[in-house]
Assembly symmetry: none
Homo-oligomer: 232 residues x 2
DNA sequence: TCGATAGTTCGGTGGCGGCCGAAGGATAGC
DNA sequence: GCTATCCTTCGGCCGCCACCGAACTATCGA
């Protein structure tokens, strides 16, 4: 293959409107799910899937499976650089200010939200980090956490229903879930759900209507400080 | 027009093999006639004419009529920069085995070439590294270089027209341009062009006909050694 | 075990665009 | 004027590829 063909091939990939829309969204540096990218590009899931596979094949994107979701991100900073150079040609300034519109509109979503049934965002990460720092949980394997004896006690004092979580044998007990805004794992699985449930039950957090966004209450903020030694 | 559409449109222009071949030839920084570009791209004159018109329309190329001939050149160094960035991507895409095949095809191009109007390849990197090592230039921000007082003196002794380069207010003075073969930044912008000009004027380097490839002369090799303390 | 959700694969369709032949300027030289 | 060369415009053909519906797989939660 000549350098010329290589040039045209990579440019052609970026030259499709749907793929360009996906790449633009990914210029925020975060990982996004296939369905999110499909929605942004304005195409069906199956069309998006084909586009994403081609871009992964060409090393423009990197993919990581997580549960039912598949997260895609730009494969390297060089990809971002090339996109930026092309956008500069069109006279439009893009990165790094080019976050997705939804993103700019919703900083609260980044702060705290539900991910299935557990907490995510800065609050989810703060809780996870605090538990790790205190030695209450430990990474176990690539995808799980282990609850230590001290963690068992800690959860008991807080009112987290650990026995109930263990009873759900069909469900993973404590999983590492990649936080798509913070780009680090937070705690999910049955234990993550039980912790979130405690937050809601004790009035530390409230779900907003018709949204994944979660509001941390004042007492929740105090609880984070006193019980977890974390500030957000 | 949205930024996304702008991205896909300019990328789609570069994504056609015939147009990519033309753009590659024009990376030598010179103006070429329509028929020459048609020959390079392997298409008929009328097909090439259509391609060229579209690229002029999109401000990728600039055209100038001269007698019966029509000369085309890259519209700006930004266009060259974008092409270079895309080529850097293309270098990473295939596994090593496939890459080296394409590589060995053009060892001379990898050694020294023009990137629009400045030097690239091993020689371009050698010059840039030597200037950095001697403290003549310093990275300034993510995309620029700063010429230090010692660099000012050094360029003056060499006959590089620094004042002339500064006078081009419309153009970036000293930019970092990612070298697609060396995968590290070399110096471009007005100063990069002035340095390259010095190389050609003093007989240190010669452009090969119909190619971006540049030949380093024996005196050029000696100059690199004595003035820059670099060996290639 | 079962339903719901996320993602992929496959097959068929439609439209965009690259291609060339033919014809039509424009310029230079005679 | 005439001719050769360079380039462009026009019209029609053809292939590629983006798209979607349908069906399938995998994972999650109950």
């Amino acid at each position: 293959m000549t350098t010329v063909n290589a040039l045209s091939e990579v440019a052609a990939l970026m030259g499709d409107p749907a793929r360009a829309a996906m790449l633009s969204l990914l210029m925020d540096g975060r990982a996004h799910t296939a369905s999110e990218l499909a929605l942004t590009a304005g195409v069906t899931a199956q069309t998006a899937s084909g586009h994403l596979a081609r871009m992964v094949e060409a090393s423009l994107l990197a993919a990581r499976a997580q549960g039912r979701n598949r997260f895609y991100r730009l494969a390297s900073s060089e990809v971002a650089h090339a996109i930026e150079a092309l956008m500069a040609l069109a006279g439009t300034r893009a990165p790094p200010a080019a976050k997705s519109a939804a993103w700019r509109r919703d900083p609260d979503l980044r702060f705290c939200r539900t991910c299935y049934d557990h907490l995510a965002g800065q609050v989810g990460i703060a809780v996870t980090d605090a538990l790790t720092r205190a030695g209450h949980i430990e990474p176990m394997g690539p995808r799980d956490w282990r609850l230590t004896p001290s963690g068992e006690l800690f959860c008991g004092r807080l009112g987290v229903d650990v026995p109930g979580a263990r009873r759900l044998g069909s469900r993973h007990f404590a999983r590492q879930c990649l936080d798509w805004s913070e780009r680090r794992p937070h705690i999910s699985g049955a234990l993550g759900a039980a912790i979130a449930d405690t937050f809601f039950r004790r009035g530390w957090a409230e779900k907003l209507r018709r949204s994944r966004t979660v509001r941390l209450t004042d007492s929740g903020r105090r609880a984070l400080n006193s019980h977890f030694g974390a500030a957000v």
